[in-house]
């Protein structure tokens, strides 16, 4: 843990300046407010520092001389100082918060947009939870630094220096006597700072351990109960819980000691001052008002000192958070539109895979030397076992990933030369696992596109047979989708995704046929909808149903990343190869009519 701490500190020092400069880019648009805050800081301090001095004046110049009018003047000055401190502090705080909230909000937007541009492979490596943490918890840690500190640390330093300077101006020797305990106090505080930073870190780690344990155990409660291991798990939980408590006990002791220490030193300093003052007043050098002012200054002196430890810790975690956030922003976007885009004059849907090789890593080829051509409007069925590379074909087509060798042409233009957005607009993808967003049915069809009217929407939905179930929902198109679409059946989700694809009217369609079984009636609706959807579009179907395969213009049999056979149903039958054998099987079982499938049947 100590090592970590040192590493963290070393990292912090090296990158601090660079990080601040980057952070400044977010602050820059709000530099007016920032400037305001910076100006308000010394002013707040000044008004704060004036108050004890006014007390001194009041005591020495007016009360001591029985000057009631003068006392009133001093009183008014005091009011002025209070009001001034109030106003400038508030202005400073508001300005700081405005800068912080706005620049951090901009930072979050940048992070979000960057996430959207990152390649799919990035998301395979980084769990969703971690990314969410970057955008929320980490940015919030930076916010915390603004709220609880940064600028006020400068103000604290200003105040401390100011107090010492004023005290010195009033009386050098008195000041030195009064602050005699400061050096040992600072040493003691540094001791506690290191200790409490470590315990604080331990507390955070142990709390995270408790929470992770709870999350996991509650998620797997069935396993715990099935193996009757409640006692064992309880013992493990108790251990974590106890560790957390012990760290907190320690931290409480440190904090209580530090708190009391600072208070005690404050009182002792006043005593020392009185002792010295008593000697001097006897000789007439120090006035009583000075003592009063010093008491007040001391009160103000020890407040920021007490709070410094907490602020320091907050700053530390903010710096770590900034680092992590920028690291995410620095992740390169590997798939983007080229600077010079090229597009065909007319998009017709002609697709060529030209000796395509693809691997996610190294030379573990998912596709080897895949070549085929699709004429506009042609329907092709991809057939092959799991892992044959069927779904990779669709990923390469719309550049979720780029090929290693060879090229893919759409209407004669390499997909890597297309403008990325234009390219993806040509291709509609319907996956078997339908993803639904929070929102209503309509939003899930239009995906928030406002140029799709309600009429378009309903036309699309009824064309693909989705209208019927949607209109039966209590609120129709406005029916909210529950988490992960749990209020819709699998078949309904399929139909919804067909409506979505149709509403976008793509030239090219990639359809990953669902393997899960639905009731026969819905099955018919889906078959019908698929046929309508494919009409007039170049379509690649990752097929699981024989009926779909038989109706395709062309069948591509993929095996272990290679194209083994291409042809129409008739051609492949005549060729008596792999497909022919499949067909033989199919022919021998009359029960496999429309509606049945040869994928899994099971729960």
């Amino acid at each position: 843990m100590m090592q970590d701490g040192q590493r963290e500190e070393a990292l912090g020092k090296t990158y601090d300046i660079a990080l601040l400069r980057r952070l400044w880019r977010y602050v820059r648009p709000y530099r007016g407010q920032f400037l305001l805050a910076v100006i308000c800081l010394p002013l707040t301090s000044a008004f704060l520092l004036a108050q004890p001095y006014i007390l001194k004046l009041a005591v020495d110049n007016y009360i001591a001389h029985n000057d009631a009018a003068g006392l009133t003047k001093a009183g008014l000055m005091f009011v002025g100082a209070l009001v001034g401190e109030f106003i400038f502090f508030y202005l400073q705080y508001q300005a700081t918060m405005t800068v912080a909230q706005h620049s951090l909000s901009d930072l979050r937007v940048d992070l979000f947009n960057h996430l959207q541009a990152l390649p799919a492979s990035f998301f395979d490596r980084n769990p969703v939870g971690r990314l969410v943490t970057r955008l929320t918890t980490d940015v919030d840690a930076i916010n915390e630094a603004f709220t609880a500190g940064t600028l006020t640390i400068f103000m604290d330093v200003l105040t401390l220096v100011g107090i010492v300077v004023i005290m010195l101006t009033i009386d050098v020797k008195l000041t030195l006597t009064t602050l005699a305990l400061l050096p040992p106090l600072l040493v003691a505080m540094n001791f506690f700072r290191v200790r409490s930073r470590d315990t604080y870190r331990a507390i955070r780690e142990r709390l995270a351990r408790i929470n992770a344990f709870l999350q996991e155990t509650l998620s797997g409660i069935a396993v715990v109960q099935l193996f009757a291991q409640e006692k064992k798990l309880f013992a493990e939980f108790d251990e974590r819980n106890r560790e957390f408590r012990d760290a907190n006990h320690l931290s409480n002791i440190y904090e209580a000691t530090l708190f009391s220490l600072v208070e005690a030193v404050g009182s002792i300093s006043i005593a020392l001052m009185l002792w010295y003052g008593a000697v001097q007043i006897g000789t007439g050098v120090v006035a009583l008002g000075t003592l009063v002012a010093f008491v007040e200054y001391l009160q103000k002196f020890f407040v920021p000192i007490r709070e410094f430890g907490t602020k320091y810790t907050t700053m530390q975690s903010a710096i770590t958070a900034v680092e992590r956030v920028f690291q995410l922003l620095d992740t390169p976007v590997t798939i983007a539109s080229p600077s010079l885009t090229r597009e065909p004059e007319q998009v017709r849907g002609h697709i060529v895979f030209d000796h395509v090789w693809f691997a996610y890593k190294g030379d573990e080829w998912i596709l080897r030397d895949v070549s085929f051509t699709l004429e506009p409007g042609q329907k092709v069925a991809l057939v092959g076992a799991t892992g044959a590379g069927k779904s990779t074909i669709s990923k390469l087509l719309n550049r979720f990933a780029d090929v290693q060798h060879g090229r893919i042409l759409i209407d004669g233009v390499d997909v890597r030369d297309w403008d990325l957005r234009t390219l993806r607009r040509q291709i509609g993808i319907v996956l078997q696992d339908v993803f639904l967003f929070a929102g209503d049915v309509a939003t899930n069809i239009t995906l928030g596109r406002s140029d799709i009217t309600q009429a378009d929407l309903e036309r699309a939905a009824s064309y693909v047979n989705a209208n019927r179930f949607i209109s039966q929902l209590p609120r129709g198109y406005q029916e909210p989708i529950r988490e992960r679409g749990s209020n819709l059946s699998g078949g309904q989700r399929q139909l919804l995704s067909f409506a979505r694809a149709l509403a976008y009217n793509p030239t090219i369609l990639v359809l990953d046929e669902a393997t899960s079984s639905v009731d026969p009636e819905t099955e018919l609706l889906i078959q019908d909808a698929m046929n309508k959807l494919m009409a007039g579009r170049t379509t690649i179907v990752i097929a699981h149903r024989f009926s779909t395969i038989q109706h395709a213009d062309c069948i591509i049999v993929l095996h272990k990343g290679q194209v083994r056979e291409i042809g129409t149903h008739q051609e492949l039958i005549e060729r008596q190869g792999i497909y022919w054998r499949l067909y033989q099987l199919q022919y021998g079982t009359p029960s496999l009519s429309v509606g049945s499938q040869f994928a899994e049947v099971g729960d």
Binding site: V59, Q94, N211, F227, E230, L233, N252, L272, L582
Partner: protein, 579 residues
């Protein structure tokens, strides 16, 4: 509140010690302004230097003692708060472990987590900071108030006039702040959900080029969050300057009004300084009193929510039957069993009229289409759910009359969804043992055809599940859960389509190996692949919650019913996959 009293009473001795320290500390603290007053008066009246010296020494002495006593009072009371927090968390966890699966299907884990984290914290604040200030503030007021009144009653009233204001103000503001803080937290949670959804649905967003839409949706929530944060900042920012202003006003009154009293000769300068000292001492406790109100309110609300967890009774509880000692043979009998989930309000039954006898030591396969009720049927065996009508017996004993621990030692259940803990592989497999026994772990891994996979991991059995870089495939996870169940050595083993992600050939090999390794066990296996279970002693076919066919593979294929149909379909699938 009742539960809370239990904890407080339990720790009463330590609370009392802390409170004693608190009283001593407050008494000492309050004597310091008085000593200040005497010192200044001594200086003013040019008393002998020795007298001043004594006062100074007294202040130093008291400050030191008070520092020590005060730190004791603080951490003693705060530590009791932490102790109770620990106890409360343990009690909650123990209770949650008892609740049945049905509860967890209704309750989102995220909500539970937030209770366990936030509500427990709120209760702890109430018990630590809350109790400290609840006692500290009145103490300070009694001491300081009486000292001030003795010096100058009028000035006391005037100087403290602003303090009720401060109290009311803090009370109001802290309530507002709590509300706004809650809103900001919700906003942050909303942002999290949004990002989570966007990342999960990224493929759709990209395929349809809807990044702008997502950005706009995110931007909208981001803006709301920013505005809520700003609104919180506006209240929060008022706090420190207003506090200073209010205590400053008290000081002003002392200066002005008190000053005029000094001029009039009714008050000494020493009194004036002492007044200022007392005002300083009262500022923080007054502020804390304002906070206290919301701490108490929040703590009470949190306690109520926690209490509702404690009040939830487990639906499935121990029967008054045999303990672990009894050896069983493993004969299972279903008698007129009906079952429906509670969520299906319309009384839809998932299983109807199930009558089935599974002789001890046999392997029985349950097959059927999706939604036919196979999983539900086997989930009734370890009492993950209880039957609605009818009875299930093991060796003739109704399973509802056994203790849950005993029943679950008898029935080893391997679920379809492989759940593993993020511990080492060996610890996952040896989950049912108090300590890892490598010999048995290796045996179980071998039977589950997992030993080869584990050997390929750089750290073998010490590999931590879910650690970065090592991702287990679905099939590996499933085989690991099988190994875990095997190691527990139950007389009855239930596989709820537990090898669905394993390839067909391996599944078949595992099931074959299982028969040798478990020849005396009763095995109930569900598989979506019929070929894998064709060797079973008996095959039960379910359709729409009823048993429609039973028999051996050969009998059922000959019969030409549902089983034969599914079998044919799957034969095709397998052939296609092998081409």
């Amino acid at each position: 509140m009742h539960r809370l009293w239990g904890y407080i009473v339990y720790y009463r001795a330590r609370y009392m010690r802390g409170i004693l320290c608190l009283i001593v500390s407050a008494t000492l603290a309050m004597s310091i302004p008085l000593l200040l007053k005497w010192t200044i008066e001594a200086i003013q009246h040019q008393r002998p230097f020795r007298e001043v010296m004594w006062h100074v020494v007294a202040i130093i002495g008291i400050a030191c003692v008070q520092g020590v006593v005060r730190s004791f009072s603080r951490f003693m009371i705060f530590n009791v708060g932490r102790d109770i927090e620990y106890q409360l968390r343990n009690d909650l966890f123990a209770h949650l472990q008892k609740l049945s699966l049905g509860y967890y299907q209704r309750q989102a884990i995220g909500d539970l987590m937030s209770r366990l984290v936030n509500d427990v914290t709120a209760v702890r604040l109430l018990l630590g900071l809350g109790i400290l200030n609840l006692l500290n503030t009145p103490l300070y007021y009694i001491y300081a108030g009486s000292a001030m009144v003795m010096m100058d009653p009028q000035l006391t009233l005037a100087a403290l006039a602003t303090y009720p204001l401060m109290f009311l103000f803090v009370k109001r503001m802290s309530r507002q702040m709590m509300e706004k803080t809650l809103k900001v937290q919700e906003g942050l949670a909303d942002l999290s959900t949004r990002v989570q959804e966007s990342v999960s649905g990224m493929h759709v967003v990209r395929a349809y080029v809807r990044e702008d839409w997502q950005a706009a949706e995110f931007g909208r929530r981001n803006d709301t969050f920013r505005e809520e944060s700003m609104s919180l900042a506006r209240v929060r920012g008022l706090f420190p300057p207003l506090m200073k202003a209010v205590s400053g006003l008290g000081l002003l009154v002392v200066l002005w009004y008190g000053g005029s009293h000094v001029i009039a000769g009714r008050l000494s300068l020493g009194d004036l300084v002492a007044f200022m000292g007392y005002l300083h001492l009262l500022a923080w406790p007054t502020m804390a009193l304002g906070w206290l109100i919301s701490i108490v309110q929040r703590g009470k609300a949190a306690l109520k929510r926690l209490e509702s967890i404690f009040q939830t009774q487990p639906e499935i509880v121990d029967g008054q039957g045999d303990g672990l000692a009894r050896q069983i043979h493993g004969e299972i009998h279903f008698q007129d069993v009906d079952f429906g989930y509670r969520a299906h309000v319309n009384g839809h039954l998932v299983l109807r009229d199930i009558n089935l006898t599974i002789p001890a030591g046999t392997t029985v396969a349950v097959v059927g289409r999706m939604g036919s009720g196979k999983s539900t049927l086997v989930q009734l065996l370890p009492r993950l759910f209880d039957v609605q009508n009818g009875t299930i017996t093991i060796d003739g004993q109704d399973i509802r009359t056994c203790s849950l621990a005993a029943l679950r030692h008898w029935v080893g259940f391997v679920p379809q969804d492989p759940f593993l803990f993020s511990t080492r592989i060996k610890e996952n497999i040896a989950f049912s043992l108090p300590a890892v026994d490598m010999e048995r772990v290796r045996w179980a891994a071998r039977v589950a055809h997992l030993d080869q996979d584990i050997a390929d991991f750089p750290r073998g059995y010490d590999t931590v599940v879910g650690e970065r870089g090592i991702t287990l495939s679905g099939g590996q996870k499933q085989r690991m859960t099988l190994a875990r169940a095997l190691l527990a050595d139950p007389p009855i083993l239930v596989l709820d389509d537990a090898l669905s992600s394993v390839d067909a050939q391996t599944e078949r090999q595992i099931l074959r190996g299982l028969r040798e390794a478990t020849h005396e066990k009763t095995v109930v296996v569900i598989s979506h692949r019929i070929a894998a279970v064709r060797d079973a002693d008996m095959i039960v076919v379910l359709d729409e919650g009823r048993i429609v066919e039973t028999g051996t593979h050969t009998q059922l294929v000959e019969r030409g019913g549902i089983y034969a149909e599914i079998f044919q379909q799957q034969a095709l699938e397998e052939e296609l996959a092998e081409l």
